[in-house]
Amino acid sequence: MRRHALLALSCCAALSAPAQAGVLAEDRADVMYHLYDGGGVEIDGPSMLVRKKFAEKYAVSANYYVDLVSSASIDVVTTASPYKEERKEYSLGGEYLRGKSIYTVGFTNSKENDYEANAASVSISQDMFGDLTTLQLSFSRGWDQVFRRGDDTFEDRLDRRVYGADLTQVATKSLILGLSWETVTEEGFLNNPYRSVRYLDPEAASGYSYQAEVYPRTRTGNALAVRGRHFLPWRAAAQAEYRWYSDSWGVLGHTVELSYTQPYGARWVFDARYRWYTQDGADFYSDLFPREDFQNFLARDKELATMTSQTIGIGASYELRLPGMDFLEKTTVNFRYDYMLFDYDDFRDLRVTGVPPGTEPFYDFSANVVQLFFSGWF
């Protein structure tokens, strides 16, 4: 039950190659192993992405992605039992190039034992003003079904619409600028059917008890990002990015990301990056409510808490020459490692007992993210 997992995919991010309008992306296949390990959660699995052009006007792409989840997160440890589950996702996409426009359609299906999501997307990308400007408009629609393990009577739905606009501008011979806007509107069952909030209860031995979370059935969020990428004279690239986010639940987020890319020799490319993220929590979030049914909406999901995260990452890519694989024009083996730190300002660590409710230390954790993938151009 990992609702957020599906949102990124409904935007068809997996299928939208970072190509410029007026030219379709190269024929390419990627096979990846990914691993996330942190906060008592381990998620790994494969991902495969293939893109192929036809007659320089059409392109198709397909993505297969798996998450194998083994969770003993702090929520699970304090209010439920550790579990394992699997999520499989299939995406298909098509592109049509006409003049300086690219028309794209995509479809994604994702299934796990208590959640199914389907999303369809369309977009148009247009080069203009002497090919210095590229404008892309996109829309996607998602239909999700939510279930609850061990409760056959529970079933609910979630509808999603995502509107996006991206503008890329060539500023100088060495500088490219980007502006992205996206609005996400959702209606339906938005909370996690397993998660609880806690409230003060003098009758309980621990001083508090739990009740189920209650979320609004609608949410609308807006995100705006500006970014710039600069080519440096010794053949390297530096990028800076800022993203602002605000939604109808009161979540306000800021993201700053810096990255640097350095080729070395003919075969190596190295990357380094740093990302800082902070958010104000949702209006109806509280680590500890004063009593049961304290207000209409109740949340204690740490993703809706006031928090900060930092990510520092490195990457290396090496171009291989494989004997007997002449049909491949180029092959690379790639490794990426990211170290993430999460700090919560109003989500307490309930593994600490024997202290008055509301005085437990604030929770924090770190995570390791590993990606190993092979890419082949054909």
């Binding site: 210095l132 060539v170 992205s180 806007w181 939604d247 958010q279």
Partner: protein, 75 residues
């Protein structure tokens, strides 16, 4: 009204100036650096998509995480 006339003409002149053909200030043959693969917003789509998934699964913010288009017109 007479005093406003120069301002009106100036506004019309400035307003219509944008309707003419735009002369690219970076010519196609000057885009070698922009066409370098290291200038892609996301050089490896399979990796960029995965990292978006990692962030959006653990943070409250959603959207506007990708850069679309390159605009270098290098085909």
């Amino acid at each position: 009204m007479k005093n406003l006339r120069p301002a009106l003409w100036l506004a019309i002149a400035l307003g219509t100036a944008g309707c003419g053909p735009v002369e690219p200030w970076v010519k196609p043959y000057e885009r070698e650096r922009l066409a370098d693969p290291i200038m892609s917003w996301d050089r490896d789509p399979v990796s960029a998509s995965y990292m978006k998934h990692v962030y959006e699964s653990r943070e409250g913010s959603r959207g506007a995480m990708g850069g679309a288009g390159g605009g270098c017109g290098c085909n």
